[in-house]
Amino acid sequence: MGMGPTSVSLSVASPSPNLTLERTDRWRGLREYAPLRWLLPLALLHGLLYLVIVPPWQHYDEPTHFEYAWLIVVHNHIPTMDESDPQMRHNALESMDRFRFYPPGQHLDLTDPNPTEIGMNQRYHPALYYMLVALPLRLVANLPIDVQLYTARTLSLILYTLIIAIAWRVTVVVVPDEPLIQLVVPLMLLFTASFADMMTAVNNDVLVNFAAAALLLGCVLLVCGGMHPTSLVLATLALGVGLITKRTAVILLVPYVLALLWAWHRTPLRLWMVAGVLVIGTLMSAFAGLEIVQAANGTRILALRPWLNQLDSSYLRLSLDSWVRSVSDLEQTNLLYQLLLTISFTSFWVRFGWGNIIIGSWADWVMVGICVACAVGLIVQGWRSRSQMSLSQQRCIWLFLIAVVLGCLSLIARLHPLPSPGYIPYIPRGRYIFTVMLPVIWLIVLGWQGLFPNRWKHVSPIIILGIWGIIDLIVWSNTLIAYFYGVG
């Protein structure tokens, strides 16, 4: 008799097998996200260090990016190219001067009530990013301009932190059975000092980089999990945000289309067929749209065929002809490509502020060494692991590789059309392809593993992470401090 209530109680309290399984699944799901408990605070603190150490206005075009958002707050509309506010410019100049923005010996006339310029006008960019920045700025509109700038930087800090979480998620999706790599990739992205420096600035690149990372997550989810609505919405939304933030995001279209293709067609494609279609397609397009002509200096270059030139001048308005002529003039561009390689490579990895702060030439050479070694390692690793990786993993890595190649090509494209002889063209900085920073980090980790024999392979991610961590530590604790605060 005494067992009666107990048995009733037990029967009530004991969960059904289904319920237990559901709880276990939920617990496992929560545990899966456990690394974020320290990864997110770490990213936030790391970004915060960069945010507070770098004095106001000391990032690429920060004054004019800020001005764009500020004008939206004050005028309640998207400003035109000519709009400005003399008082705001005066306050900004006063703050720039106070924070030693200008080199020694250069002093501003702060008594001028109508200062003309505070940098390169950024209002040719789409307004999305600046509208986002304007949201927190409205809350501090009456506070000093330094406070407003730091508030604007805070939005970048949040996006930087989220990118690290996205990087972690991308890695979990691609290599679900590699817990070490799942942490090494986001940590390496976190420790990439040039990226952290850029991602805590007021600059529309920040939103493009965030959109690119989100797009990559959407793409790997599509490739690994098939045409799922959530993945599709994520990838499409991220692509949309990227495209309406800055034109540098246009390279993201290719990974997006590829991911859709691979999500739809989940069986292997024959390599020769893919290569054949690509080669024939490229040749046919080139033959249909381009012709060989003689340049003014006598060299043979490519030019648009008349029908395409007509289409471009009447509809596309991209000055494609001068661009194609410029790209195909190898004699003129040969030296510039060398310059582009040097400037874009160093500014991608080890340049800070306005690209004027360097760690030292040793860091340039360390990065050259690592990148060359990883390129070799990537080939070795690709050959060694070709049978061990699943189709979706292989496709994800192809996606990363294609994104990185496109990023490099976009830098070359940005160099053209070259100005008239005698004028020095603008050499694009590496920050324009921070959109592909996550795929680059992925390839570095993979390539680095390829350099080690199988029995040492498990140690290799720790070594490369250590190198990244040490360089980052040197940057924030010494390089930036020495530059901005005169000691270190």
């Binding site: 770490l42 603190l45 507070v52 106070r98 030693r100 506070l143 406070v147 730091y150 070490l180 270190g488």
Partner: protein, 236 residues
């Protein structure tokens, strides 16, 4: 003790250690000392009687950041001077006539023949706004009875180009006996937190914040490294 209780104890003690560390970092970052004292008397010292003087101007060159005060030698009055206050203006020597500091020196507050004023740290060194690191302080001497005996001291100076001007007349190779007072933060020898905070708004202007932030970051980094190690060992 059960495993759960042990875990809780370990976790609590770690949190406490981290918290104590944070308090120590904050406390150490706040320690400052003052450097600067009046040099001992020399045979060339000569008194400057304040009676009949309107202004005294003295230029000097800042040698370090964080100038926080000035100490001026004064000989006390032989007669009682009720609460005499001497206005002092500190300006850039060659810059715009803006007062960096404007204070009143209270003669009654002089101790051991030295009258001192303190002000928030000045950042003239490393501040590119400053056309020069030479400052000048101007003393507007109020009317003093001739027989009060209140005097400053001047002495020969051949080492520096600093000038002493009394009522518009430059006294070559002479300077007022005074000393700039600099603040020295101990933590700056390790990491220049005072420079990092200088001029920044709100909490960003509080030097210990930077040390604290770096400390917390390194603690969380330590947690991350511990997690990596655990995963690495479980894989190995």
């Amino acid at each position: 003790m059960s495993t759960t209780a042990t875990n809780i104890t370990v976790r609590t003690s770690r949190w406490l250690t981290a918290l104590i560390g944070a308090l120590c970092i904050t406390a150490l970052s706040m320690i400052t000392t003052l450097d600067g004292g009046i040099a001992p008397p020399t045979p060339t010292d000569m008194p400057i009687t304040l009676a009949g003087i309107t202004t005294i101007e003295q230029t000097f060159t800042i040698t370090r950041p964080d100038l926080v005060g000035l100490a001026i030698q004064i000989h006390p009055a032989t007669q009682i001077v009720p609460d005499l206050r001497i206005p002092l203006h500190l300006r850039y020597a060659d810059g715009p006539p803006i007062d960096l500091v404007s204070e009143n020196l209270s003669v009654q507050a002089a101790t051991n023949g030295v009258i001192a004023i303190r002000f928030p740290p000045l950042m003239a060194v490393h501040d590119l706004r400053v056309p020069t690191t030479t400052l000048t302080f101007i003393l507007d001497i109020p009317q003093v009875q001739p027989n009060t005996g209140l005097t400053f001291t001047a002495r020969e100076n051949h080492q520096t180009p600093d000038t002493l001007t009394i009522d518009g007349r430059v006294l070559t190779n002479r300077e007022l006996v005074f000393a700039p007072i600099y603040q020295h933060r101990w933590a700056d020898s390790l990491w220049p937190i005072s420079a990092m905070a200088r001029g920044k708004p709100g909490v960003l202007g509080w030097p210990p914040l930077y040390a604290l932030l770096a400390y917390i970051y390194l603690i969380v980094l330590g947690v991350g490294i511990a997690n990596l190690r655990r995963i690495f060992l479980s894989q190995g």
